[in-house]
Amino acid sequence: MLNTILQLAVSGAALGFVYALVGIEYSLIWNATGLLNFSHDKIITLGAYVAAGLFFTKMGLPIPVSFILSIVVMILVGFLMATVVLNPLRKMTTIFTIMGTILFGKMIYELIRLLYGSAPFTVPGLMTGTVHIGSLVIAKSNVYIIVIAVIVVAALQIFMQTTKTGKAMRCVQQNKKASELMGINVKQNIRITAAISSVICLIIGFMVIPLYTVSLSMASMIGLKGFAAGVVGGFGFLPGCIVGGIVVGLIESASVLVIPSVYKDAVAFLVLIIFLLIKPTGILGKKS
């Protein structure tokens, strides 16, 4: 029994870190623009297709080179999203901004479908294999996900705390109007934020290839659960997203021990509703 619990804890933690990164993405865009970006799942999918589909499979480049080139592409995608959606819409009413991000995602989805077709595919040998610790069997993909996610989160925190751009992003998060008055270029700031968000999408998309394969629907569920993670941890607060992600991942994974596994998906959303009712600011969120 203990072995099973540990096994579930590892896979739950790995999924939790994926949700945490998605929650961070939501928070970055929310903090920079005040918009909820509902195209995250499509951008994650795009990241996976660009890295695995374009550079690795079609062009035959090694995985590290494919990944680096994909970062460049995704930065451009982030700039594009900021230029055509986030910056023009940030002062409009909520319904238009939601429509804008959904449409952007739809267009990405159709673009992927037209360029790559509908066939799912995978990257053979990517993060496969297992690690044995006693009787515990841990998939290497889970280990990689946890390690990469921790590195991304740490790098993001260092960037936000120590660099001029990161500090400007935090200023914009606190008060956009005051930031503009103090000489911060808010539009440029949003472009950089969107680029960072897109790169994180690429990392998520690449990390989950061994779990989901590369397909058009690979990120639809993690997009929703990442949002739940953000709310549970404290929306807009990056450490909160990490805590929220891990909590959602662990609860979801452990739920199969006590309830029929078919209800596992519902657990994340049940947790979301409970938090919205009891503590809408999330675990680490502060009252405004």
């Binding site: 238009f96 989805y109 595919f121 496969t128 297992t130 569920m221 199969v256 596994s261 078919v262 998906d265």
Partner: protein
Amino acid sequence: MKKKVLGLLLAVSMTVSLAACGGAGTDTTTDTSTADTSTDSAETSAPASDVLRIGVAAGITGNAPLEGERMQQALEMALEQYNESDGSIKIELDVQDTQGTTAGALNAVQRCISDGCQVILGPHGSTLVLAVGDTVDAAQVPFISGGTSPNLLDQFEYLYTCRTNDTYAAAIGAQACVESLNATNVGIFYCSDDYGSGGMTVASEYFEEQGIPYSAEAYNTGDTDVSGQILSLMNSGADCLFVWANGVDLAMISRTMYQLGCELPIVSSSSVAVQQYIDLCEPEWLEGWYGVGEYVESSDREAVQQYAADFLEYTGETGELFGATYYGAFQAVIQAVELGGGIDSASIKDGLSQIQGLEVVLGTYNCDDQNNLMHECSLIQMELTTADDGSSVVAPVVLEQLSVDY
């Protein structure tokens, strides 16, 4: 002013986007005299009385778009071949996207009906069939689907099924667990949708009849982590696993089992023999798996070999189950027109009910009193072999070809 312009632009782009990804249909019209194929936008006008308009409700977008794409490709190939070899009937394909959803399927068949289609192929999947059955019955248009759930039997007067029903396929799988693998305690792992639940019901009834204890765990379509369920089954004392899952989930399930060190013998649904899903797995994940196969390219049947070669030439892709299913359904329609003596819906329905001994890719169509056309499948095993380039590949090998009366 700027806000108004942006709002207008958004509204327009949303309309265009939704039109592009949702409801677009295509007509593939073939002039029998020239055998030219052209694709135009669908129009809602009724076809000319000498034209057989075949509605195609295919999931071209949605969760499993490849199934719809292969279905469309196979039907277009079938139409082209028909026109080259015979062409006595002028045929149009009216392709509508179900988006893999019940609402989308309903829209697709309604569009086919309003377009005047005399027969509809699809939608694929039992859940979608259950959603559209009443509508198609009310329109009195026969429709042929690859849905395999036992729940479809005797449900709809105008429904014909062209794949082996789960009642039989799952029974074969369950039987293999007991008779071929000597299982004394079975773990059932199934998808919670209609397909998986149908297989689970049949298998559990069989195990109960045989006095074999079993435990069951389910997953939902789109789940990404099933380690909890697999661990639960491994710890249940099972000495054999019966896996009734959809193909898109096969890679996730087989990877999890392999990584968790599951060494129990596994009997799977037909997905395990579908090349497009095999390609998503590392060879060692599937090595030794048993399965209930429908389309097995290594089969020595001539119809299979011919279809595989034709499909590869026509599309550049490997042949697979979904295309082969509806390729056969197209042949059934042609046969039905000959047997029924006309291209109106009533004649086609009459003809479909008379079909006996029609050799198609998946086997031989013999229509029974429940409108099932197919009564065959094979027990297969996945074997590890070496490809020409020296790499390891896994491929299904037919152990036994089986047929049954329901």
